[in-house]
Every structure is written in C-alpha cells, then in structure tokens.
Subunit: 220 residues, 2 copies
Amino acid sequence: MPVRVLLVDDEPLVRAGLRAVLEAQPDIEVAGEAADGAAVIPLVRRLRPDVVAMDVRMPLLDGIEATRALLRTVPDPPKILVVTTFENDEYVYEALRAGADGFLLKRARPAEIVHAVRLIAEGESLLFPASVRQLAAEYGEGGGNRAARAALERARLTEREGEVLRLMARGLSNAEIAARLVVGTETVKSHVSAVLAKLGARDRTQAVITAYESGFVAPG
Amino acid sequence: MPVRVLLVDDEPLVRAGLRAVLEAQPDIEVAGEAADGAAVIPLVRRLRPDVVAMDVRMPLLDGIEATRALLRTVPDPPKILVVTTFENDEYVYEALRAGADGFLLKRARPAEIVHAVRLIAEGESLLFPASVRQLAAEYGEGGGNRAARAALERARLTEREGEVLRLMARGLSNAEIAARLVVGTETVKSHVSAVLAKLGARDRTQAVITAYESGFVAPG
DNA sequence: AACGGGCTCCCCCGCGCGGGGGAGACGATC
DNA sequence: GATCGTCTCCCCCGCGCGGGGGAGCCCGTT
C-alpha cells in the first residue's frame, strides 16, 4: 500500500512541483492539497494521510502553528514533514518543538524529497541542520529579507503590539501613536521595543519591512 | 503551433512545478530544462525555444548574466521571462537592463504563469510597473495607492537615489548603505535627505512605506 | 492566594538620524 | 567656456529613537 501524502503550501507552483515529484513514485500517492494551515485539520480527518508535507510560511495559519494544532486535536496524527524555502536553523528547532518529524528544503533534489517522505512515513525522524548550513553557505547571503520574514512567522505579537506595528507601518512616530492610542509615549516605546525584539528588527524601519514582507500589512 | 518553453532553474522542484503548470496547457510545450545559466546557450541553440523561463538565482551563472550572454551570442534569441522568488527591484532592473522581456514571481498563480508565458511569446513585454501594479492589486483590496505612486512619479529620483531607497527598503542603516555602495556615510546621508525631500517623507520609515505603497518595491 | 501575562508608565543614556549649510569633481548640455 | 545636474564629502546641531532597567495595575489561570 502506497504512502499517502497531503500537500500544504500556499504556492500552487510548489504544490504542483511536489505532486509531480512524488507521483512519479509508484509507492507514493498524493492524497490531497491545501493552501493554508487553517485547512489542514479537517482535511487530515477526512483523508487520513500518512504524511503531511507542510510549508512553514502560510498566510493564515503557519506550518508550525498548524503542526501544533494538528497534534493537539487529531488522534493518531500523520507524520509531519516541514517544508521550507529558508535555510534557517531556528525553523528546525521551532518545528521540532512543535512536534514535526522532519525537515526539508524546497530546493532539495527530487530524490531527496522522495527519500525524505519515505523515511518519515517509516517513522524515521529526519533532521539535517548540517546540510542546511552547508546549503546556506553555498547560496551566500541570499535573499536579504529571509530573516525578517522568518521573524514574523515566529513572533506572537499581542493585540496591542499588533496595533502599534500597524501604526508604525503607516509612518507614525511614537508620539503620534501615543496620541492615537491615547496612552503615554513611554508606553508606546515599550510596545515598540517589544515588537522589535519579537521581530528581530533593529529599528522601526526593519519592523515595517517585516510587516510588509510577511503580509501583516499589504500595500494599496 | 505551440509555444515552446525552456525552463532554467537550479531547483528541480520549481522546474517540475513549472512543467506541470505549463504542460497542462494545450498551446504550451516544455522544450527542455536546465539547472544553471551556464547550460542555457547550447540548449537554446539546439532546442530553439520561443521562451526561456529563467531563474535569477543560480549557482554558477545567474539569470541576469545568462540573459546577457544569451542575447550577446545567440542570433534571433528567444524571449526571456525572468522567474524569481524575491522581486527586489534590483533584480528586476538588472534583468530588464540585461534585455529580459518580463519577470514573474514564483508564487504567482498557475493562470498568471501561463498568461505571462503567452504574453511574452506574443512579443508583449511584461514590464515592471504593470505587473507590480497587478500584483499589488491582487494582494490588497485592488486599486493600489495612487497617492503614493503619484508621489514617487513626481519624485523623479536619480539613479543613485533609487539605489539608496531600495537599500533603505531592505532595512539597511546609513552606514551599511555606505559600505554597500562603497561611499562615505555623509554621502549616503545626502542621498537619503534628497529621497526624503522628494518623497515628502519625514523619516526613512515613511520613505520605505511609500516605496512599498507605490510598487517601487514589492513584498516578497 | 499565588502566579503569570499584558498594558501602562517612569528613569537614564548613547547614538543614529535628519536638517541646514557649504564645497569640490565630473560629465553633459548649451 | 559657462552652466547645470549629479555624486561625492564635510561641518554643526537638535532630537527622536531604542536599550537598559524598574514598577504598579488588572485579569485570567492555577
């Protein structure tokens, strides 16, 4: 009986690629697809896949949160293979802490992807931070917003911090934000500092960039 | 006769995805694949594709260099569609200066990918403002920020100022921009001040917001 | 009752940022 | 040759920003 895989990624292109790679194997079958973590749980309940190949970065519910939710609510859950573009080690730890069984880079070769799915299905856990680091080195510094993007996915901003970030992303100064929220500037500074820390941003400009890059605020 | 496309991307997964998406169309055909820009020229000579879908980021010879080499050495060259994950404008500008006919984000929907290939094949050039505007419209509520765009059009930034704004929009400090451009920090401060003045921005954060809102840079 | 998290406000302090002004070098244009 | 725009670098200066602390209040959980 074939290994049944559920693909979860917000980019149709990636889903199509994974499907093409996996369905070329006789012993692997794509059970279904989802474009966001929020759709995973009902699909898992219905399709009962053996493996979920899950992107980390998705609009509504990211892969790490989706993994947590899945393991919390579904009895006898499938194995979870976290798929990511970004070769960030922190992802590995976050995903593993959330209960994922393995970790795979999107730029892996087809044979590696297939291998990873098979291993995971067999109950092996798959980690290779070493090769991740190696890949990162090969590709150089690469996409400058990689870390910023990763940041907001991990950051769990409070409601107030989210409000402040939105106002920062509209160009308001601390004093203006304070006036808008009817609080003191010192309070705003506290929130701003918290936002910067959680986002790994050095200054408000970087925080606003992260807000745009992650879709937390959208242009237009 | 179908549009014949050559896929050039170092990630097999992306190639597989593009192939799956494009071959689902009756009027599009994948003529071949290459994993690096260095392999493109002989392949183009042999396969004579109508369109080359070319990644920018590749290990040996990147898409921009490959585009230059292709247009320099191959008579009656194919149309070149630059495919990228991160649409930092530097890439877009670089690619267009190199002679590419259009650019496409990997996260575009299949219909958009197909559309782009058809347009390019027909000789339409899929240029920066249009596609970015389109993306911006899809991303947000649809309409874009006319004011921000107007501000940027009125601004008429010089080449150097545009460079500086792009680096600002990547979160770099003045000192970091100076290092990147190999000039003094005082010089960068001059450019930044000019950008702020031309954009009507009070600080770099507002300038970056204008850059995003106008589509001068787009979220990745 | 004890605890933790979130929101609020306060202190001090260093420094990067941005405004204002000026100036030399170079190339294109006239 | 003179003018203009761009790029480069320099000065001084004020201030907002962000880091480092701490602290009280409310509320939900334990």
